[in-house]
Amino acid sequence: MSTDTVAATASAHTENTADAPVLEVTDLAVTFPGLNGNPDVHAVRGVSYTVRRGEVLGIVGESGSGKSVSSMASMGLLPEHARITGSVRLHGEEILGLDDRAMARKRGRVISMVFQDPLSGLTPVYTVGDQLAEAVLIHDPKTSKAGARARAVELLDLVGIPNAQHRYRSFPHEFSGGMRQRVMIAMAMANRPDVIICDEPTTALDVTIQAQILDLLRTARRETGAAIVMITHDLGVVAGFVDRVLVMYAGRPVETGGVDDIYYRSRMPYTMGLLGAVPRMDLEHQGALVPIKGTPPSLSDLPPGCPFAPRCPIARPECDMAEPELLAIGSQPSEEEIRARGTEAGAARTDGGDTGTQRVACIRSGEIADRGWTAQDIYPVPEIPESSFSDVPREDRPEMLRVTDLIKHHPLMKGAVLKRRVGTVYAVDGIDFDSREGETLALVGESGCGKSSTLMEIMGLEKPQRGSVSVMGRDTAGLGRADRFRLRRDMQIVFQDPMSSLDPRMTVFDIIAEPLRTHGTATADTTRRVYELIDLVGLNTEHATRFPAEFSGGQRQRIGIARALALEPKLLVLDEPVSALDVSIQAGVVNLLQELQARLGLAYLFVAHDLSVVRHIADRVAVMYLGRIVEIGDTASVYARPAHPYTQALLSAIPLPDPERERARTHIVLDGDLPSPADPPSGCSFRTRCQKFITLSEPDREQCMSVEPRVTATSGGDQAAACHFAER
């Protein structure tokens, strides 16, 4: 894209936009009629916002809060049976209710969208370039095929696809997730739209790729001058990126305002809880996270008053009388007025226009502002008892798990009848670590780094291809069947996806009792133990007879934890236990895990990609890259002084939920994608993306390229890194 074309289009746009809002959504409501006698689902109930040119609005909310549905409604992408009311104006023109043909002319030209999952977002049977060219051609049929093709190549180049001319002919499956998301952004930018709606554009991506994509979105905003609506559940992503924030809950905006107002002077208990529930990577001693009890209400059966009241720690009887309006702080009606009006006032209505000042839908917002309450003041934060091990040095504690030079190589085979080996996937390639009693060791890294393979190798309790695994001092290579079965009592696992890791046809009681029965516990003992566990993980006794489908994600994960604890293991392996959960639910599970560890003296092997959660929960951390550990050490040192360039980049890539700090930070953005584990680079496997490598002198680079660095101590203490030029 040449600069003068941008300038030309920009000036063309400014004439009719001036400072008028580009997109104006007023009192938007979306209802999905219930089929077969099911109640209607009120997915969005009165959303209003405006965005101006070049402005970025963040819409934040947990799953089911209606944030995606409201933007899909603006795009005219909802299924026909959805009932949409209210108004959506684009440059002052009403677009709600336009027929599909008229709406199609707007979509992609004036208003465009970037979706969450780039893996399924592109049609698999057309080339990437053709799909991009289609976006150009559809709005300008006069463009020649060659012209559209040239523009597509230009766009691919702009979004940072290397060798764009050549990659034009690639099919989507030949691109990585990050590259596909770049293509999606190119598609959204293709016709220089005035509004780009980004629906969780980085949720499905790894942090280093997320940093690349966020950079790219900044470029897109600069190049097109478009207004951006950024939808996300990640409070970190929006902090440094947006100008204003709209917080949604149960289909309604509950708080809106400038980004600093929301982050530092939040006046809605829900927003306050949400911010308090986020584990912070930048805080050394955060204490327990703020859990919000309960789960979001069902959108087909909402309580009469404030939808957050059932979960709110400071709810009053008046909260249940009528739904509070979104009003400026201090202008909420008093409790007497609400009682006088009674419940007959019905559902509240928003005051329509977006004034740009902070507005809150909470009758106690004025009080919160006056008293200067924070999340810690209004939410009961659980006391997490000190672990009894905390004063025993780790060297003196018994060893729970030791992994020495472990490898897991998968052969790549070719041929149907006569198979021959054509290569090797180095999934796990020689790693060493140990874990002590009462300690949490976290394995972190991006997808494909081998952290889950490591877990599976350990859990298998088999003889590894090379190296050794010993659990509680017993080498797994020498175990017989019966020994292995007995050893499983001592190590149990909690899986990532609470939806699919519980048998849907078993009751909670049977699920938790299964390991006990397998290991031959007497019936009476089993029953006693199951109820004990149900209580331990914070579920109620009456839950025992229900099926997993009746529970929310957080509750299911608690069931999974109860099952893992049934046999009183000493080592609990946690495979991304909270990554599928919403922030407010995640906080409760993280707190539970910490509490259980302190009470039962468990050792955790915690696998995660979320470095904020790791910082919060782990004592030690091992960073993995392409099947190897590149840095290991106690959490405080690694986070404070990362020695390996990859760790530095990883930590730098994570956005902080703190707008001022986030704006002041400079991120290290790594180039490109993770290399294929079937063909790792020679020498140091990280050198192809290393930000330090390019600054080195020629002989130093030679060393990186030819000599594989070993994990060596960097700070004299526990910290060690695999880098020739580690920070010491």
Partner: protein
């Protein structure tokens, strides 16, 4: 890719050889050609029967291995032996295959095209009136055996003809015996004869294709890429046609090749009932006549068509779906 296909082809050749050999051995051990000659009127002498059987390589007193060796030697040079009446199997086989191909080519194209269109549209209108009607019709057709459909259509044709008092619908034979005229009139006559059996075959195919395509289409309808296409500025109709249907057609096209391959010798009932002397009808007749060589030849032909169809579907799949290209 070429290497992969070459290896596939080699596999198919082995499979065809095995299938044909088993079919021959099964037919040679279970059919009783001697009985066919013995029940002739007047009964021929045992010597005459033996010499007849020897001439045809069908004598059950010759060891099976020897008969098989003679037969397979012939097959390798393109000679499929003689029919029990002494005719050449190979030349008759090509004639019968021609008859069948004429019948099923039109029927499969018609049936699958209609099925795909109805199935895809039904998916778009899921649970609406059109979808419910299409579902009801296809399940009804699927639950009725083809033989019943063929006979019912024939009975209806008779009723229509009676009502009109003329031979409006023809339900027997491939062409009118002794009919003479210009080339165009001959063609017209053949088409006239082909209408009803083609319809019967097409209607049965339509039902399965409609169900299959509906499911395939439903799989892709909610896909993110259809939404992306609409977000680019395509209308819903265009996004469905260009992005959803194109993707959902891939499995159906391979299904089509298999159906076609299987039908070459699988349209038996329709051929028998409508008096078409095609492959299927020939197989049934030859079993009744204890004709070992014809049974083996038809089996060989079935194996060839099925393998060819599967080979074709491999190629088509790779051509249509870039994800499986290697």
């Amino acid at each position: 890719m070429g290497k992969f296909l070459a290896r596939r082809l080699l596999n198919y050749v082995v499979l065809i050889f095995l299938a044909t050999s088993f079919a021959y051995l099964l037919a040679a051990t279970n059919l009783y050609p001697r009985g066919y000659f013995e029940q002739m009127q007047p009964p021929p002498s045992p010597e005459a029967v033996n010499s007849q059987l020897d001439a045809l390589n069908l004598n059950d007193q010759t060891p099976l291995a020897q008969r098989y060796a003679t037969w397979i030697g012939g097959v390798l040079t393109g000679d499929f032996g003689r029919t029990i009446q002494g005719g050449d199997v190979a030349s008759q086989m090509w004639m019968k295959a021609g008859v069948t191909l004429r019948l099923i080519t039109v029927a499969t194209i018609l049936g699958s095209a209609l099925g795909i269109a109805v199935g895809a549209y039904a998916a778009v209108r899921q649970y609406r009136r059109f979808d419910k009607a299409a579902t009801a019709v296809s399940f009804f057709v699927l639950s009725v055996p083809t033989v019943v459909i063929a006979i019912v259509v024939q009975v209806l044709a008779v009723t229509v003809n009676d009502g009109l008092g003329s031979q409006f619908l023809i339900y027997s034979g491939e062409y009118s015996a002794g009919f003479d005229g210009t080339w165009w009139e001959l063609l017209g006559n053949r088409i006239h004869h082909a209408i009803l059996p083609t319809f019967v075959l097409a209607i049965a195919l339509f039902a399965s294709f409609a169900r299959y395509q509906r499911n395939m289409m439903l799989d892709v309808l909610g896909s993110d890429f259809v939404r992306t296409a609409m977000a680019k500025g395509l209308t819903r109709r265009r996004a469905l046609f260009k992005h959803a249907l194109r993707t959902a057609l891939i499995p159906t096209i391979t299904y089509f090749t298999f159906t076609f391959g299987a039908l070459v010798s699988g349209a038996t009932f329709t051929e028998k009932i409508y008096g078409w002397h095609g492959m299927g009808a020939w197989l049934i007749d030859s079993i009744a006549k204890q004709d070992v060589h014809v049974v083996a030849a038809v089996s060989w032909f079935m194996a060839i068509t099925i393998m060819a169809a599967s080979f074709l579907s491999d190629i088509l799949y790779a051509w249509l779906d870039p994800r499986v290209r290697v």
